[in-house]
């Protein structure tokens, strides 16, 4: 599963492009402290913990765990 430090996210969307399962998105209905739309995971069950998103995140906001 993936978790985000939402307030540090700048909503660049590089994680969204990197995800092979296409379960990430830039949340259109949220705004964080910095004023950006943060990234979020829409289906944790489908996450395969490949950490591609975390590897492409320039702001190191993503932690990836395997159950």
């Amino acid at each position: 599963m993936v978790s985000f430090k939402k307030d540090n996210c700048k909503g660049c969307g590089l994680c969204v492009d990197a995800c092979p399962k296409q379960i990430l998105r830039v949340a259109p209905d949220q705004i964080n402290k910095k004023g950006h739309h943060p990234a979020e995971c829409v289906d944790q069950e489908k996450c395969i913990a490949c950490a591609f998103c975390a590897m492409m995140c320039p702001d190191c906001v993503i932690t990836v765990e395997r159950k």
Partner: protein, 252 residues
């Protein structure tokens, strides 16, 4: 079980870089390498002038801020003062390393100083608002070349790795990029080798990272990465440009 988390050598300070700027990835790779080699306590980083001027806030190791372009000269002093106990790296952009700091870079390489240089090449001056850099591509539109860079007027971009590879001095020169996951992995390997070379006392290692500047290129982060792959990599081919130890091994 945690598969991926922020490396310890990176602080919790939120980075000031623009959304989608690849500086953050390179910062993280350097921090991961410092963690893996277990050298956080004895590493000294030299921050440049440019977008990464505040790199000293983001690394947990000791950092020094150098005058514009003089990071390799400061690193030389720090390394020579206590060569056994310090690992010294500089982190520089193209405006810092390839423009005002060209002399320091070339001479540090020629002297084969035992330091590690991380060089971010994004073909534009980021911090000052997108002016033409020595690495801007022919035809590239910037603030100071609104009709595209004209090589007849402004000359041709500098390929730093190729240029330094002609010198006798440097130990290791490699050009990598961080545009996708595969290349991020390769970049980390290269950065790790550059630090390992210094630990082994082999000498000057420079890793050039081809990067983007979505803000000043006037693109979304995704489009900037596509532009990088299409245009930047054609002019700046990836690869190892010099590996003296490997060449010596082969000669045997």
């Amino acid at each position: 079980m945690v598969v991926f988390e922020k490396p310890h050598a990176l602080t919790d300070v939120p980075m000031h870089y623009c959304p989608g700027c690849l500086h953050g990835i390179v910062h993280r790779l350097v921090a991961e390498v410092i963690d893996e080699l277990g050298i956080e306590g004895k590493t000294i980083g030299i921050a440049p002038v440019g977008c990464s001027v505040m790199a000293y806030n983001y690394f947990n190791c000791d950092m020094i801020e150098a005058a514009h372009g003089r990071a390799p000269a400061v690193a030389t002093g720090v390394k020579r003062a206590d060569p056994e106990n310090h690992i010294v790296f500089t982190y520089q952009g193209d405006g810092d390393l390839a423009s005002i700091g060209m002399a320091e870079t070339v001479h540090a390489a020629a002297r084969n100083e035992n330091i590690t240089v991380i060089f971010i090449n994004n073909a534009i001056y980021g911090m000052t608002g997108g002016q033409m850099a020595p690495t801007s591509l022919p035809g590239q539109v910037t603030q100071t070349s609104p009709y595209g860079r004209d090589p007849k007027l402004c000359g041709y971009p500098v390929r730093v790795c190729e240029m330094l590879s002609e010198l006798e001095g440097p130990e290791y020169l490699e050009r990598v990029t961080v545009a996708d996951v595969k290349n991020v992995r390769n970049a980390k390997k290269a950065i790790k080798k550059a630090f390992q070379n210094q630990i082994d006392g082999k000498g000057f290692s420079l890793i050039e990272v081809v990067s983007t500047c979505p803000t000043n290129w006037g693109m979304t982060p995704q489009k900037a990465i596509d532009w990088l792959k299409e245009n930047m990599l054609a002019y700046y081919p990836l690869g190892v440009y010099k590996d003296r130890s490997a060449a010596k091994e082969e000669a045997k």
